[in-house]
């Protein structure tokens, strides 16, 4: 598999504070990487470095220049006080491709409709984003990320604060997108249970050890117990892993 992101002895953080030190890891084409860690562990900082909107303080982050990112930000960060419709919000992502002083073309309209189709909310296109349920909002943000036809999808806490039904639906949708669209996915979460059945590689961030990517087959309860410094049980139920 082709290497599309490479961290080489990279220190990540901001001017006064290094959050992740001496990071050495690769993300390969087609990976589904689950990043798990508590608040403040550097998950969002890592994502920003992957996308190149934040530069490492030391070391290098090498990026395949052909990558087209689709970023699905945390739902809570969206300002919902202004009544933009779902269609308007999804169309925003095409701003650069539309170009300055131009209106969206028929192709842009079609791409937005197609993205809404993928996440099954085309009927909500003219609904204000602020009137949607949590699960629908997340689908709208996923549609926005998909609208650029990305080959690398970055999902920042896509299921945070969702009820169990909406959470299950969103996770199934993400899994479906990975299988059908053949995109590389990085999914950030602070809940291990959520990611463990979805991703094929894992990165645990906790500020206390040098993080390394773990393959799904390496993930067992002794490894998890070692990483989280507490006794963790990993049980198989109906071909799915349950973390206790």
């Amino acid at each position: 598999m082709r290497k599309i992101i490479e961290f080489k002895s990279a220190d990540l953080g901001y001017r006064n504070k290094i959050i992740l030190k001496d990071l050495n890891l690769n993300i390969l084409e087609g990976d589904f990487l689950g990043i798990i860690g508590p608040n403040g562990a550097g998950k969002t900082t890592l994502l920003k470095n992957i996308m190149g909107i934040l530069k490492p303080q030391h070391g290098h982050v090498l990026q395949d220049p052909k990558i087209r990112f689709g970023y699905c930000m945390q739902r809570q960060k969206i300002n919902i006080s202004f009544p933009f419709t779902v269609f308007e919000i999804v169309m925003m992502i095409r701003t650069k491709s539309i170009g300055y002083f131009k209106r969206p073309s028929t192709i842009d309209m079609q791409k937005v409709s197609k993205a809404l189709d993928i996440v099954s909310i085309r009927d909500l296109a003219n609904t204000p984003f602020q009137d949607l349920s949590g699960g629908q909002k997340q689908r709208a943000l996923l549609a926005r990320a998909l609208c650029l036809e990305p080959d690398f999808l970055i999902l920042d806490e896509p299921t945070i604060d969702l009820d169990i039904k909406a959470k299950k639906e969103v996770l199934e949708l993400i899994s479906h997108i990975h299988k059908t669209k053949k995109v590389t996915i990085v999914l950030v979460s602070h809940e291990i249970q959520e990611v463990v059945n979805l991703a094929n590689k894992f990165l645990f961030l906790d500020n206390t050890y040098n993080p390394e990517i773990i393959q799904k087959k390496e993930l067992d309860q002794s490894k998890l117990s070692e990483l989280f410094k507490t006794k963790i049980k990993l049980i198989d139920i109906e071909n799915k892993k349950v973390v206790l």
Binding site: N16, F69, Y71, K77, I78, E88, M92, I93, T95, K96
Partner: protein
């Protein structure tokens, strides 16, 4: 009564003031939408105060006050636009610091400047009726510039205001576009502060947009409604201030507030469609 209303239009200072006030109010009411989307209400009041300080400094050292307001506002914009890299002091604290220091310095400079006092300089409430042809020309040119800028970059300004982080990931020059947006807000604040005062400029940036937000359910309608609310309040405010001998800027802001209260009350008592 009708004759009295017509008499208002015979007064050149009223026509000049109303014309200038309308342009300023509509520009601010439009730009206020971005202030609302970006959640930078406190930055806009702080910028207004920085512009006021620029005018006070201009009067004090004998330089063109509008030019000084422009320079000070541009410095303020750069300061507010730059990301805060000091984790110990929040951006809100810095904004608060700049606001209060600018206000205090303005008071000191005006108190120590007899010229400013004799010319009736009132940075707080301004005086739209003192507007002259030069002021009107500057405001008109600024309005044309802002209109062109926003016609060209409208959708980019919307995207960057709504979600700058995602805009950056698409390869859009989001930081530059963000700066242009701040620049357009700063230009309007600095060039209109001398004649309009903080109350009028800040009131126009904040109240008409939130009034429009209550009424309209679509972003495209809000963008037109906000300046319309501002325009209506300016006309009503000017007439009321003329007939009842009230300070113009404050009266217009009073009508902004009245508009808001009426719309809010009407929306609250009207049953929502199911």
């Amino acid at each position: 009564m009708i004759q009295q209303i017509f008499n208002v239009f015979k007064e050149p200072f009223m026509l000049m003031g109303m014309g200038g006030g309308t342009i300023i109010a509509c520009l601010c009411a439009y730009l206020g939408l971005f202030v609302h989307i970006k959640k930078i209400t406190f930055i806009s009041i702080a910028l207004s105060q920085v512009a006021a300080l620029g005018i006070a400094v201009g009067w004090f050292i004998g330089l063109n006050p509008t030019l000084c307001a422009f320079i000070f506002t541009m410095l303020g914009i750069v300061l507010f636009w730059l990301p805060n890299k000091n984790s110990k002091i929040t951006k809100e604290s810095i904004i608060g610091f700049i606001y209060i220091v600018s206000a205090a310095l303005s008071v000191i400079l005006i108190a120590k400047n007899p010229i400013a006092e004799t010319r009736g300089l009132n940075l707080f409430s301004g005086n739209l009726l003192y507007l002259n042809m030069n002021d009107l020309l500057i405001i008109g040119l600024a309005a044309i510039f802002i209109c062109i800028l926003h016609i060209v970059f409208y959708k980019e300004f919307i995207f960057v205001s709504f979600d700058k982080e995602t805009a950056l990931t698409t390869g859009l020059r989001a930081n530059h576009i963000d700066f242009l947006l701040y620049l357009s807000i700063g230009i309007v604040i600095s060039l209109t502060m001398k004649t309009s005062g903080i109350i009028f400029v800040f009131g126009s940036l904040i109240i008409p947009p939130i009034t429009a937000l209550i009424v309209a359910k679509k972003a495209s309608r809000i963008i037109f409604l906000s300046p319309i609310f501002a325009l209506a309040s300016v006309v009503l405010g000017f007439f009321t201030s003329y007939f009842f001998d009230l300070p113009t800027s404050a009266t217009v802001v009073g009508f902004y507030a009245l508009n808001f209260i009426l719309v809010f009350t009407f929306q609250s008592v009207t049953p929502k469609p199911k």
